[in-house]
């Protein structure tokens, strides 16, 4: 049995039309965690970018492949895991979108945004799946409701 207070696991076919479902459920859980408007928006964007990466880059939009989302609420943080069934990728190999030669590229900013909005971002492999992106965000303290911003000030 899970130790977290709340644990939600979602498995879906790799269809972009399901991204909204993932987003709504993530928002519902995040609301329950006490996140305010800014925090909710940051979580929404991180989940959105990550789900699209899993479907498009990980599973190459192959409807036979699945995408998995897991949300677990720990006493101090919300942990979100997004799994795909694709080939391994290393986020360190990805070109830095802030480099001068990449600044005008039409893509490549998703991971940057996730890193800006979440307190932790890492990529591993998940058994029976493929990549597993693990993102966490510290819960707002009930005494001083979070003001939002870009989330870096939490560190």
């Amino acid at each position: 049995m899970a130790k977290e207070t709340i644990r939600v696991e979602i498995t879906l076919e790799s269809n972009l039309k399901h991204v909204e479902l993932i987003e709504v459920i993530a928002q519902t859980v995040a609301k329950q965690c006490g996140f305010g408007e800014d925090g909710l928006h940051e979580i929404l964007m991180a989940v959105h970018e990550c789900a699209i990466n899993a479907i498009c880059h990980g599973n190459k939009e192959d409807l036979q492949k699945q995408v998995g989302l897991s949300l677990s609420v720990h006493p101090d943080r919300l942990e979100i895991r997004v799994r795909d069934q694709g080939k391994s990728f290393n986020p360190n190999d990805v070109p830095d979108p802030l480099d001068k030669e990449n600044l005008m590229k039409p893509a490549g900013r998703g991971i940057l945004l996730i890193q800006a909005f979440m307190d932790e971002f890492r990529v591993g492999r998940c058994e029976n799946w493929g990549n597993e992106v693990i993102m966490t965000k510290r819960l707002p303290s009930p005494s001083q409701p979070e003001k939002g911003g870009v989330g870096r000030e939490h560190q």
Binding site: L16, H41, M45, H48, E49, I52, P97, L98, L103, M104, K105, P106, A107, G108, R109, G110, L112, L113, A116, G149, V150
Partner: protein, 118 residues
Amino acid sequence: MSINSTTKKVDSVTVIGLSGKITIGEECKHLRETIRGQLSEGTKSILLNLGDISYIDSTGIGELVSSFTSVSRQGGQLKLLNLTKKVHDLLQITKLVTVFDIFEDEAKAVKSFGSTQA
């Protein structure tokens, strides 16, 4: 589709007011086609009013960059007006504030294009 646009002409500048979201899929396509339509009509000065845009994702940011590039390639200019805090934060994070000319006042924005272009 959750994006809408209205177009008006102020002096020689085409002001496109966008509302809704600029996100992956239909919304980005709408922006792309709107810009393409303007360019095919010979428009050179485009001011995008993003005041009613609630949400832009990384694909939407990419679309703004592509729009900027397309307009520049045709010898035109694309500038931004009325960013919400959220959208401004995104351009800050992605360092695109250094690329885009950003305005909070329409008249000043229009003036900045100069009066040489149609």
